[in-house]
């Protein structure tokens, strides 16, 4: 069977193609359209997936959309009605927004692909998250917890999944917490309050949290209370997201926490205001972790499962994931490479395949590289046209050369094979650097990523060496496979891994298996031979406000506009040559 999964319209649109029960490809629209967090209907992603899979639209057995648009419409309309008359400003906007395109998904898919309406299916949003988490994991039987801002009505669900001996698979979601009560929205509200972009910058709150103290936990507990049945409820007097799209928090919220931060204002941790924001981030992070850990613990007791599959945007919170692993009683925690809405495209396709069509379960390759490939020849051509120094080396020489350059403090743009599906650069579209000094971290922040000082960089390390440098609990290696957990750097290594050690002594480590990314693994080995420490700083290959690079030309454009010294695609290596701006200006005019 050929099944296309689609997610769209809210953030991170994506498409994924499953053929004969195995994913063939998946890509986020932003990687092709080059608009970060592109929420548009993913025409480019769909076209690329069909072309890559060699499938004509009429050959598709099903097209699965990742949520139920009418149910979502019902939720938005109901919430608007419930907040009458204060929702009078939000109502026209919401209706224009929804009625314009978002609820006509069946027609849009049918008209674009020419597939009959009966072939178009709809999973629920959290079913898609659950499927993306469970069906891509190697677990036979697992508890499932999904949490995000909101899907249709659900904001958090729990359930379980099973691969049966007869080859069938089952996912059962048992119960849900419904909008407006939402852990994701609580965190996003603080994201907005701290002057960051909602649905995009939540990880900045997590980074900032390490600089604060949990002094406001009691205040945040006023906002969110546990209910007698083990769920939670928000005190909606402190929030406005349920009534308007203009602001997430109410004036009562501001009375409790003080004035919000202006997005243009830098966070100066040396000031009382800067420290207040850090304390705020720390406190909401702590409350989120506590609630997730408690819920996961109850879920473990209820299901008796050894494995937990986490899905939804909240599963991107690596600090919370590590605490769940350490404290909930689960032996292994699985977080897919794309736990957010983009991953729902793959989840929806897999759900239809296994649950709706009852196809026998098949093992899914345990890697995140489902996107478009990179071509070293393209890079060589473009760089030569630009009079850059291009070298094409054999594999061994290339690795030794790059390792030497990295050890000498040079920064490398690294592109290899198919791009990652999901928000993390896991070794195919990465900026690599030596992880040893704080100066390197500052240089990357200043010259390449143009981002706030408080945000940490992540390390990548061969799986066999991970425990030597990082204090990983049992099950930690699995969580570190897709950089989904934050773990302590061993104290004796912190000063020698200063660029990737966060202020609280932790790092969001990626433990790399040779089979997953053999060339990056070889580079780590070469770097280890060169410096004695086979650890590299690994950050996503993009500049602020841009999606991660996809093709060689996009890597080259990023290379030219930033302080990256060396660019690698396949076996092609480009060394930056200073270009004369004055000469270019004369030539150009």
């Amino acid at each position: 069977m050929k099944i296309l999964g689609i997610s769209a319209h809210y953030h991170d649109s994506a498409a994924a193609l499953v053929i004969d029960s195995v994913p063939v490809c998946a890509v986020q629209e932003e990687r092709l359209s080059r608009r970060k967090n592109d929420a548009a209907f993913p025409l480019s992603a769909i076209d690329w997936c069909l072309e890559h899979g060699g499938v004509q639209p009429e050959e598709l057995d099903a097209v699965v959309f990742y949520e139920r648009p009418m149910l979502k419409f019902e939720r938005i309309l109901t919430c608007t009605l419930r907040s009458f008359p204060s929702s009078w400003r939000a109502f026209p906007k919401a209706m224009k927004n929804l009625l314009g395109e978002k609820i006509w998904v069946r027609g849009i898919i049918s008209s674009h692909l020419g597939v009959p309406a009966r072939k178009i299916l709809f999973t629920e949003h959290h079913q898609s998250h659950a499927a993306a988490a469970f069906l891509t994991s190697p677990s036979r039987r697992a508890a499932i917890l999904t949490a995000d801002g909101v899907g249709e009505w659900a904001t958090l669900t729990i359930g379980h999944g099973e691969r049966r001996p007869d080859g069938s698979a089952a996912i059962t979601l048992l119960r849900e917490i419904r909008f407006p009560h939402s852990l994701g929205m609580l965190y996003s509200t603080f994201t907005a309050y701290l002057g960051f972009a909602v649905n995009e910058d939540e990880y900045k709150v997590m980074g900032l949290a390490a600089y604060g103290r949990p002094t406001m936990v009691d205040r945040i507990r006023k906002l969110i209370q546990r209910t007698p049945d083990g769920a939670f409820a928000l005190d909606l007097d402190y929030f406005e997201y349920q009534t308007t799209a203009e602001r997430s928090f109410s004036s009562r919220f501001v009375d409790l926490f003080g004035p919000p931060r202006e997005s243009s204002e830098p966070i100066d941790l040396a000031t009382a205001t800067g420290q207040r924001f850090a304390d705020c981030a720390c406190s909401v992070q702590r409350v989120l972790e506590d609630i997730l850990v408690e819920m996961a613990r109850e879920l473990q007791r209820e299901t008796g499962a050894a494995d937990l599959c986490l899905g939804g945007g909240v599963a991107l919170n690596g600090v919370a994931n590590a605490r769940i692993l350490a404290e909930s009683g689960f032996e292994r925690v699985f977080v897919p490479a794309a736990p957010g809405d983009a991953g729902c495209a793959l989840g929806a396709a897999l759900y239809a395949d296994r649950i709706h069509f009852r196809n026998p379960d098949r093992e899914i390759p345990d890697h995140p590289f489902w996107g478009p490939p990179v071509d070293g020849a393209d890079l060589a051509r473009v760089a030569r046209e630009d009079s850059q120094l291009v070298e094409e080396l054999d594999e061994y020489s290339l690795m030794e050369r790059i390792a030497g350059d990295l050890a000498a403090g040079r920064i490398v743009g690294w592109m290899d094979g198919a791009s990652e599906f999901g928000p993390r650069a896991l070794g195919h579209r990465s900026i690599l650097a030596a992880p040893h000094t704080a100066e390197m971290r500052d240089r990357l922040n200043r010259d390449i990523k143009y981002r706030e000082e408080f945000r940490p960089f992540a390390p990548v390390v061969p799986i066999e060496a991970a425990a030597h440098y990082f204090a990983l609990p049992p099950g930690g290696l699995r969580l570190a496979r897709f950089m989904s957990g934050v773990f302590p750097v061993r104290p004796e290594w912190r000063s020698r891994l200063a660029a990737i050690t966060h202020i609280d002594g932790t790092a969001r480590v990626q433990a790399l298996e040779r089979e997953m990314a053999p060339r990056l693994y070889a580079l780590l080995e070469a770097y280890g031979r060169c410096t004695g420490i086979p650890v590299l700083l690994n950050t996503s290959f993009n500049l602020a406000g841009e999606p991660i690079v996809n093709r060689a030309i996009e890597g080259y454009s990023t290379f030219r506009r930033s302080g990256i010294d060396i660019l690698v695609a396949g076996r092609t290596l480009v060394v930056k040559r200073a270009s004369s701006a004055a000469k270019l200006k004369e030539t150009g005019t």
């Binding site: 139920r68 009605l81 200006k585």
Partner: protein, 254 residues
């Protein structure tokens, strides 16, 4: 080396509106927010140009677009730093000042640039006109900012780049389309007018839609709102069970 910039002058229309621009730029908070908005526009423009560089098959254009993109990124930083500096200098108000963004747009602030599928000559014509319009407007802003030398210095610095951008887009347009560059420029001017009309029409349609929906909201919705609120009061917070029917059905949009 900096090129000698031609004298950039405000258009007659902008000069007529000088008192309005003086008023817009007089208020410190409005000035700060406008600069921050310009920063976003410049950063967006930089991303569009880097996209153009990625798409063009012409190596010289690629280099120029990349240099232009870096300029835009630098301008964004200049605007951002100055805007944040002004904001820091006084306590913020609870109600931000009226922004008047339509009257004082930034570079390409009112244009919708679609780089993909736009051929180089069309893009160069668009950029040339856009840079020219921005330069003349920035020249006027500089004139009315006599009371704020620091902000004026930002516009000074940016204007010298704008002159280069105007020049290179024109000379490259004549290179890539030597026989039809004039037609391209006129076509681009007409496209700007058409886009202006579309923006106006869309805004009017949006306003009418808002009025109609708001009227419906107050006339039709109250009884449904009462029912929805009553149903809401009956819903207890906490877990809601998920039926097996919901777990198994994926045919419905509901």
């Amino acid at each position: 080396m900096r090129l000698v910039s031609p004298k950039v002058r405000a258009t007659p229309l902008d000069r007529m509106l000088r008192p309005v621009h003086s008023w817009i730029w007089a208020d410190a908070e409005r000035r700060a927010r406008k600069l921050l908005r310009f920063a976003e526009t410049e950063a967006d423009g930089g991303r569009d140009l880097s996209r153009a560089a990625e798409l063009t098959p012409d190596p010289l254009l690629r280099r120029l677009y990349l240099a232009h993109a870096s300029d835009e990124q630098r301008h964004a930083e200049l605007f951002r730093r100055r805007g944040a500096g002004i904001l820091r200098s006084f306590p913020s108000r609870s109600q931000p000042a009226f922004q008047a963004n339509w009257l004082a747009p930034g570079e390409r602030g009112l244009d919708d640039l679609r780089v993909d599928n736009t051929p180089d000559d069309a893009l160069l014509a668009f950029l040339h006109l856009s840079e020219k319009a921005a330069a003349s407007r920035f020249a006027l802003y500089r004139e009315v900012l006599a009371h704020d030398p620091a902000t004026r210095a930002v516009f000074d610095e940016i204007l010298s780049d704008e002159a280069f951008h105007m020049n290179y887009t024109y000379s490259q347009l004549t290179r890539v389309a030597p026989r039809r560059y004039r037609r391209r420029l006129w076509w681009s001017r007409l496209a700007r007018l058409w886009k202006g009309y579309l923006r106006l029409a869309t805004a009017l349609a949006g306003m009418m839609g808002t009025i109609v929906l708001t009227i419906q909201y107050f006339i039709l919705l109250p009884p449904f709102a009462w029912l929805a609120k009553r149903a809401g009061r009956r819903e207890a917070p906490g877990w809601t069970p998920i039926s097996s029917k919901r777990n198994n059905s994926i045919r419905s949009q509901y």
